[in-house]
Amino acid sequence: MSAAIELNGVSKRYVKLEEQAMLLRSVMPFSRPKRSELMALRDVDIAIQPGETVGVLGRNGAGKTTLLRLLAGVSRPSAGRLVVRGRIAPLISVGVGFHEEMSGRENVYVNGMLLGLSRVEIDERFDRIVEFAELADFIDTPVKFYSSGMFMRLGFSVAVHVEPEVLLVDEVLAVGDLGFQLKCFDRMRELKARGTTILLVSHSMHAIRLLCPRAILLRHGEVAFDGDSEDAISRHYELMSLDAEAGEHGATSGSVTVVERALVGPGGATVHQADQDTPLALRMRLRFEEAVDSPHLVFAVTAEDGTRAYEMWTAVGRRYRRFEAGDETEVEIAFEPRLGGGTYRFTTTVLAADGKAALAHDDAATLLYMPPPLGAAGVADLRAVITVGGELLNDHPPLLLDGG
């Protein structure tokens, strides 16, 4: 059987003009605006078999969105060839091209037709689409009055009810409440069971882990890894840490330099992911470029969306030791990661004795992925136990897919 998605040597080059192209400038000789080229994708080869569910990982700008655009057929490659076999439902960012002035009902029809359904086919599916989107009361309201969650629910609902053979999903699961997210997972699993090929682009390692046995890691427009999703996720964190280190190493406010840092598990090995029960430590080596008396530390943990999950300050004002220029010292911050699911960034700030002037700020190489505790959401893991009439109710069965 031929592959559902096939890319052979696909490259996409964007030509960005330094200034917006102006008619006058392009007509006049010697004043052509400067051009710069951006290779969004470089010689990408991918083959995805029908029925596979594949995740796509990568930092912002790695080429994920370009890849989806090419597969949706909206854009064409600069070189190479791609083939997508089957009806495609692209679900790229919030709202699959909704018309603001039109009601939800009208948008369902326009959208359905754009996705290749006939009017009759939409009639048949209309009630199911509205019911799934939980928008029965608002279906005749213009979508400009919809919240982003409502927008997304309608878009997702239309896309999955098209019964696509190839579903392209971009970050859509990041929006909406937990209940709807779970419903989306269920629906995607249903489509998967029916043989739909799914390509899921996400920053949420959680979603990729749950749905995709295989993942492709993009980096600077190239395929950096293609294989088992667990391995892809580890490789992704490894690369992110490397990139962060390359970008921030040595960038300090002057008097203190962070020479080394590592987030380590009980055995002393560097970790990029951990579960809630494993004690961890952030180990750093500081070098003093000039004499500093009794520096203080702030240790902070930030969630993906910028939420401050935790902060610990050392006792400011306490005099304990004077470091001379050229001295080096070890810092160890030991902690238990009682965090909810997600990716966290660990930041350490070195302050002067008065707690005011920042001497160094370091958040390189300290990203940690925490698997979400089953049934839980949020940044903290409070380990709630819910019983009704003495019956334990939140011992969730594992929410995993059948492999392959």
Partner: protein, 274 residues
């Protein structure tokens, strides 16, 4: 449609002419829905609905007719009022449609950069949606003609021909301008400025013979041919109508071919500029 085998195959080259045209035809249903929505959303919340499409140009024409007959006194003939209205209604369609469709690919980028359909669909929405207003406005004008001092006659059968010529020229020009606008955003303003001047170099609010020596030059304005046919259908043909009409037909054909070719070659690349 659903029984068709869906295979998307894209390389760096534009789609072949046959494949592209088949793709455009496959999206005719979408075009119909979008055009209907475009029309509905414009007039849905207005209490007089589509009558606004007639009332505004009628008022404009009335003002023009009064200014040119009573104030500047260049208007001639008892049928000058009908002459101006017949031209203004066509002009209103042309100007309104051109402004919307020449910027349509950029203006609807929200709809355009997610789901694939040939972008020409967006360009064709305003010309098609505005046909309703055009037809209604002439349907209102025809019974008014005797009131304006013009007898009804067989020449009214030319009205559909005039409308076809108007729509064809508007579409042809829109195809070219909308493709250029994606790359050169000045096009939006150039169109606005050009329309302002264009109205006064087209014999809409004055009779072409007033131009004397310049009347021959005015024949090379493709809109002259369009309004000439509208005048022929309403107040009666003038001498020398053939040359401007021939210019319009040739210009339309050339712009149409160039426009289609631009739309085909640049399809799937427009999105990179949005």
């Amino acid at each position: 449609m659903s029984t068709r085998a869906h295979v998307l195959e894209v390389g760096p080259e534009p789609a072949s002419r046959t494949a592209w045209i088949a793709d455009v035809r496959a999206h005719a249903g979408v075009l119909g829905v979008l055009a209907r929505k475009d029309f509905q959303t414009r007039y849905k919340r207005a209490s007089f609905g589509v009558l606004w499409a007639v009332a505004v140009p009628m008022l404009q024409a009335a003002v023009m007719a009064i200014v040119f007959t009573r104030v500047i006194r260049v208007g001639t003939g008892d049928d000058f009022g009908a002459y101006v209205i017949a031209g203004i209604l066509a002009w209103t369609y042309f100007a309104g449609t051109l402004m919307a469709s020449s910027t349509s690919i950029v203006d609807h980028s929200g709809l355009a950069d997610k789901v694939w359909f040939p972008r020409i669909v967006l360009v064709l929405v305003p010309p098609i949606a505005n046909i309703v207003g055009l037809l209604v406005s002439y349907a209102v004008l025809v019974p008014l003609l005797p009131v304006l001092g013009v007898d009804l006659g067989l020449r009214l059968l030319l009205l559909p021909v005039a409308c076809v010529l108007l729509v064809a020229f508007t579409v042809a020009l829109s195809l070219v301008l909308s493709a250029l606008h994606v790359y050169y955003r000045d096009v939006r303003f150039l169109v606005q400025a050009a329309l302002l001047v264009w109205l006064y170099v087209t014999p809409v609010v004055y009779r072409q013979e007033l131009l004397d020596d310049l009347a021959g030059a005015a024949d090379f304005n493709p809109m002259t041919g369009v309004v000439t046919v509208f005048h022929a259908a309403t107040v009666g043909a003038e001498d020398g109508w053939a040359r401007p009409v021939a210019v319009t037909v040739v210009t339309t054909l050339v712009l149409f071919c160039v426009g289609l070719e631009l739309q085909r070659r640049r399809d799937r690349l427009f999105v990179d500029q949005l």
